[in-house]
């Protein structure tokens, strides 16, 4: 890093500026909102009040919980399926090109709204439809990361493992999987971000529940306050989830 933080006063200045940027943004928002009608841009005060209101209503919490639950299930499924495909390509030589040249590029370039629409046509609205779409969107990210990890496995370590045991499951459990952990973690991190940001589209078309549905309902009713409050609730849940899940996971596994 080119910028060196040496003195404590510069650290303090950084801190002050960082917080004042937020303050300025809020102030700018407030000033802008005063000029504009409520349905275009509500002020920060009313959005905050609505956010607090919503966070204590059981209905909204239930929607939030539904979305979070779907995201978690989808990430787990996507890591398992993507990892499985990567292992298939790695372990069965003649399947390598099938995965690399057919499955990966198609899944990777498949538009997310395409999955959402297909799921809306194929399945009844509900949990399964949403999870199907989210998993389909997340698989390529997991597949790419985990197959990158498999490709970078140290050959010497594998050889050493084989000189100790002929047991394949044991090698897998003791050497391959631990070496894959950093790649799987980055896959989970990316998938987590994409799930909250992009895969929510699944809930716009395929579900009568979840925050995506709440957002669409608020938008159709031109209820900007609820809409913005929902957006901030997502930001909040995203950050909390990252703190509570992703960061501890990384701390537990990445550093050894």
């Amino acid at each position: 890093m080119p910028a060196e933080r040496t003195t404590s006063s510069s650290v303090l200045a950084e801190r002050v500026i960082a917080e004042s940027v937020i303050l300025l943004a809020l102030l700018g928002w407030w000033a802008l909102a005063r000029q504009l009608p409520e349905f275009i841009l509500p002020g920060p005060g009313s959005v905050f009040r609505r956010l607090v209101d919503m966070l204590i209503t059981p209905e909204f919490l239930w929607h939030l919980f539904t979305s979070a639950w779907r995201v978690l299930v989808s990430i787990t499924a996507a890591v398992l399926i993507g990892g499985g495909l990567a292992f298939l390509a790695h372990g069965v030589p003649w399947l390598e090109t099938v995965v690399e040249d057919r499955i990966k590029p198609v899944l990777n370039s498949f538009p997310s709204i395409g999955w959402a629409i297909l799921a809306a046509i194929w399945f009844n609205p509900g949990d399964f439809s949403v999870i199907f779409v989210e998993v389909a969107i997340l698989i390529p990210f997991c597949l790419i990361n985990i197959s990158e990890g498999l490709r970078n496995i140290d050959r010497e370590l594998m050889e050493m493992g084989r000189s100790f045991t002929r047991h394949r499951v044991r090698i897998l459990w003791r050497i391959t999987l631990p070496l894959l952990v950093p790649y799987a973690l980055s896959a989970i991190r990316i998938a987590y971000g994409i799930a909250w940001k992009i895969a929510l589209v699944a809930e716009l078309l395929g579900a009568p529940s979840g925050v995506g549905y709440v957002m669409l309902r608020a938008q159709t009713a031109a209820d900007s306050t609820t809409f913005l409050a929902t957006c901030f609730a997502i930001v909040l849940v995203f950050a909390v989830g990252e703190r509570l899940m992703i960061v501890p996971l990384e701390r537990r596994f990445a550093r050894r």
Partner: protein, 265 residues
């Protein structure tokens, strides 16, 4: 290290190449056959067969109106990438020259932009700008900015100190250092960034067009959806997959390889 990895992969690939290629084509054929059989069982609004889809694809490629939608999507993507790349890079460069702002940008603005959902931007843009190309471009740009910010910051953090010191001993002119040393050593990162943005933009563009656009493939898919014209949806999806994959494989890949070969340290 990467060099040896590539060389090994090539050597390995030499052996069962023909068998693997056969397996790949067999897989494609099997997939098409399965699709055909499934389409015979399912009604056509649920799953159109490969033949009608191919016919629709051909109509698509010869119709000026349909190609116009493809062009509109391309225009949205290109403009959004340009805008968000400029904004994201600017945000990345500011803390490099003004370190006091680092915390503000990397810990406050960055994470916020990064966790704001794409759907949120899209629906917000519809409320603000209505159903126009501006909505689509705004939504895509807003989603892409954090990607540019994160990647370009990583590039700036990885600048070689020794090279910078050398440049500093040649000139005190900041602008010259920027144009002749910093930007060229960022080329690999710039390309990686553009590539990621290209990939992500296609995931978002259609969504934005579907909800807030009056042109583009997403708009077309929306019309087709309302008419239960699943064949058109399939054709559009296949066209996008083919286009994105070909761009990635035959344009961006060689370009990036070229750039990294020249500028990699």
């Amino acid at each position: 290290m990467t060099e040896t990895g590539i060389a090994l992969a090539h050597a390995e690939r030499g052996r069962g190449l023909a068998a693997r290629r056969l397996a790949t084509h067999l897989f494609t054929l099997l997939f098409l056959a399965a699709w055909q059989i499934a389409s015979l069982v399912a009604p056509s609004y649920l799953l159109p067969g490969p033949v009608p889809t191919a016919q629709r694809l051909w109509v698509f490629l010869t119709s000026a109106r349909d190609l116009g939608h493809l062009g509109a999507s391309l225009y949205h993507v290109a403009l959004a990438i340009a805008i968000s790349f400029a904004i994201g890079s600017l945000f990345a460069i500011i803390p490099y020259y003004l370190p006091v702002l680092r915390l503000a940008i990397e810990r406050r603005i960055g994470p916020f932009l990064n966790s704001f959902s794409a759907i949120g931007w899209t629906l917000l843009a519809i409320m603000w700008f209505g159903v126009t190309p501006l909505t689509v471009i705004f939504a895509i740009s807003a989603v892409l900015v954090p990607f540019a910010l994160v990647n370009m910051s990583a590039g700036l953090a990885n600048l070689d100190r020794e090279t910078m010191e050398m440049a500093g001993s040649f000139t005190r002119h900041r602008w010259r250092m920027f144009a002749l040393v910093i930007v060229p050593s960022l080329y690999p990162f710039i390309f990686a960034t553009l590539r990621i943005m290209f990939g992500v933009s296609w995931k978002v563009t259609l969504t934005a067009e579907l909800f807030g656009g009056n042109s583009g493939l997403g708009y077309m898919i929306n019309l087709a959806r309302q008419e239960f014209d699943t064949t058109t949806i399939f054709a559009a999806i296949i066209l996008i997959i083919a286009f994105v994959h070909c761009m990635d494989r035959y344009v961006l890949d060689p370009l990036q390889a070229n750039v990294s070969r020249h500028y990699a340290s």
